[in-house]
């Protein structure tokens, strides 16, 4: 499998972001990303996908869309739509209709920031997902960087610190979202998760000074999706797009918080009856089935099955564990950074049946 780094949920000047496709792609190239997926609000930007080059390097830029009902008050139920290749914002008023339309168009639907808190200090409401009766979506954003800023900035001093020193913010996905995911997984559902930057690079003016909140470059150095592709990117747009969306659909990926330490090289496999399963795969349980986890650096590792901890180790860069029960197995890793324990790696599950 070929690992690539992909940042999802970016807003450009086509909606409320402050970067152009060109400037965002330059920032992505500088951060050594392989792919970025822009998802402007209720607009599917056509004709700008492709490989962007700068300084002898390149990044693949894909276009999705963040769809939501703009007439709804308060704002809820934002959905990231990828690979549908059509403008589907007309379905925004009914989440289930939107999900169905995305499926009909062969696209992927990820519920954006399903759990977050309002940031009342600057009149930002919580834009959670509330229509939990909806079904058939691909998965959800387990970890959204802008949501975390909203959730953890409880006082003005807190907010100022987070704005000027964003490296202090991230500690992990919302507990509610993790719990919800495990609950779905334990019922046998297959749900892929991604992380989202929700990048806007908002600019605030203070007299002659301009402060950019969360520049794109910061997002790209922090929370990324690491996709395991069946083959290396070829440089051909349509071919590579299919590879990337296939990996996201299946959950052949993990979420890596790359700021404390690069997560590239993480692996989680289960070997059973001579078959090796990777994240997103389904495998039959046989006697001797063994999970193997490798980290690029020693850290705290948790192996979880249907929300229940199977094994927990500290300061290790590898772990093996034989499995005796079916279920959705996933891995969480934590590391120390800036004096605090922080979420570092969150894998998609391997489904053991």
């Amino acid at each position: 499998m070929k690992e690539i780094t992909c940042n999802i949920h970016l807003h450009s000047t086509y909606s409320d972001g402050f970067g152009t496709y060109s400037s965002i792609s330059a920032a992505a190239i500088a951060a050594n990303l392989d792919v970025i997926i822009l998802t402007d609000h209720n607009v599917w930007v056509k004709g700008l996908e492709g490989y962007y080059e700068n300084a002898g390097k390149r990044v693949l830029v894909l276009t999705g869309e963040e769809i939501h009902n703009q007439d709804r008050y308060p704002q809820k139920n934002h959905m990231l739509v990828l690979g549908a290749e059509a403008e589907l914002a007309t379905f925004a008023s009914q989440p289930q209709d939107l999900i169905n339309a995305v499926r009909q168009h062969g696209g992927l639907s990820f519920l954006a920031h399903p759990d977050e808190m309002a940031l009342k200090l600057v009149n930002e409401t919580d834009i959670t997902w509330v229509d939990w009766n909806a079904n058939g979506y691909t998965g959800f954003e387990l970890w959204n960087q802008f949501s975390e800023l909203k959730t953890v900035s409880r006082t003005p001093i807190n907010l100022l610190r987070n704005v000027f020193f964003p490296q202090y913010i991230a500690t992990g996905p919302a507990v509610e979202t993790l719990t919800r995911w495990d609950k779905f997984l334990s019922t046998g559902q297959h749900l892929a998760v991604i992380c989202g930057a929700d990048a806007h690079a908002l600019r605030y003016h203070l007299g002659p000074f301009i402060k950019t909140i969360f520049p794109y470059r910061f997002h790209f150095s922090a929370l990324n999706n690491h996709l395991l592709l069946a083959e290396a990117l070829s440089g051909e747009l349509e071919h590579d797009k299919q590879l990337i969306y296939a990996a996201l659909r299946k959950g052949s990926s993990f979420i890596g918080y790359d700021l404390p330490a690069k997560t590239t090289g993480f692996s989680f496999t289960i070997t059973s009856d001579e078959t090796v399963a990777n994240m997103g795969d389904t495998i039959e349980l046989s006697r001797g089935a063994t999970a193997q986890i490798h980290l690029p650096y020693p850290a705290e590792i948790r192996l979880i099955q249907n929300g229940e901890e199977v094994i927990h180790q500290f300061g290790k860069d590898r772990l093996s564990n034989s499995l005796v029960k079916p279920g959705a197995y996933r891995v969480e890793c934590y590391c120390e950074y800036l004096g605090q324990k922080r979420g570092w790696i969150f894998s998609n599950p391997i489904y053991v049946i």
Binding site: S267, T269, T271, S272, D273, E274, V276, S286, R287, G288, A289, T290, Q292, H294, R318, L319, S320, N321, S322
Partner: protein
């Protein structure tokens, strides 16, 4: 897994896929092991220690139902004669208890390894995990690569019912 030892750590460090089978911790023969695991005895390999004159002993890895053919082993390693030590001698030579003797636990300890060529019929085989109560299934290619084993025909079907 409750059983983690140098063998599993070695496989982890080399990123070699393996399956770990936990078994009762008493001494088990390959056939009993196969029976407990519910797999064909032909894919459960056992490790036989063979001594030779003035040289480090050999480790012969052969299928559970078979017995080592000493003449064939001698021919493979260009010796006039090789010997089958007692269980106690084998344990002293390897530092491992019978039932836990495994080439995977003796890597870089100067033992030459010969793998019976019948292993090449299979994608993966079972082998002791270096201690009683732990059996490892891994690909034949990985086993050969890890232990630098020579592959040769060194066994014949046993005349005994228990190995």
């Amino acid at each position: 897994m409750t059983t983690t030892n140098n063998v599993t750590r070695l496989l982890e460090s080399k990123k070699i896929p393996f399956e770990a089978f936990e078994l009762p911790t008493e001494k088990l023969g390959a056939l009993e092991t196969a029976q407990i695991m519910g797999v064909a005895p032909e894919i459960v390999f056992k490790t036989i220690v063979i001594t030779r004159e003035k040289k480090k002993p050999l480790l012969c890895v052969i299928p559970g139902p078979n017995e080592v053919e000493l003449k064939a082993v001698a021919a493979v390693c260009s010796e006039k004669k090789v010997h089958l030590p007692t269980q106690k001698e084998a344990e002293e030579l390897t530092g491992l208890l019978a039932g836990g003797i495994s080439p995977l636990a003796l890597i870089n300890k100067g033992f030459s390894v010969i793998l019976d060529e019948s292993a090449k019929k299979y994608q993966a085989i079972h082998i002791s995990g270096g201690q009683r109560g732990l059996n490892i299934k891994l690909s034949v290619a990985s086993l050969i690569s890890l232990t630098n084993a020579r592959v040769a025909s060194i066994s014949i079907p046993s005349t005994n019912s228990l190995s």
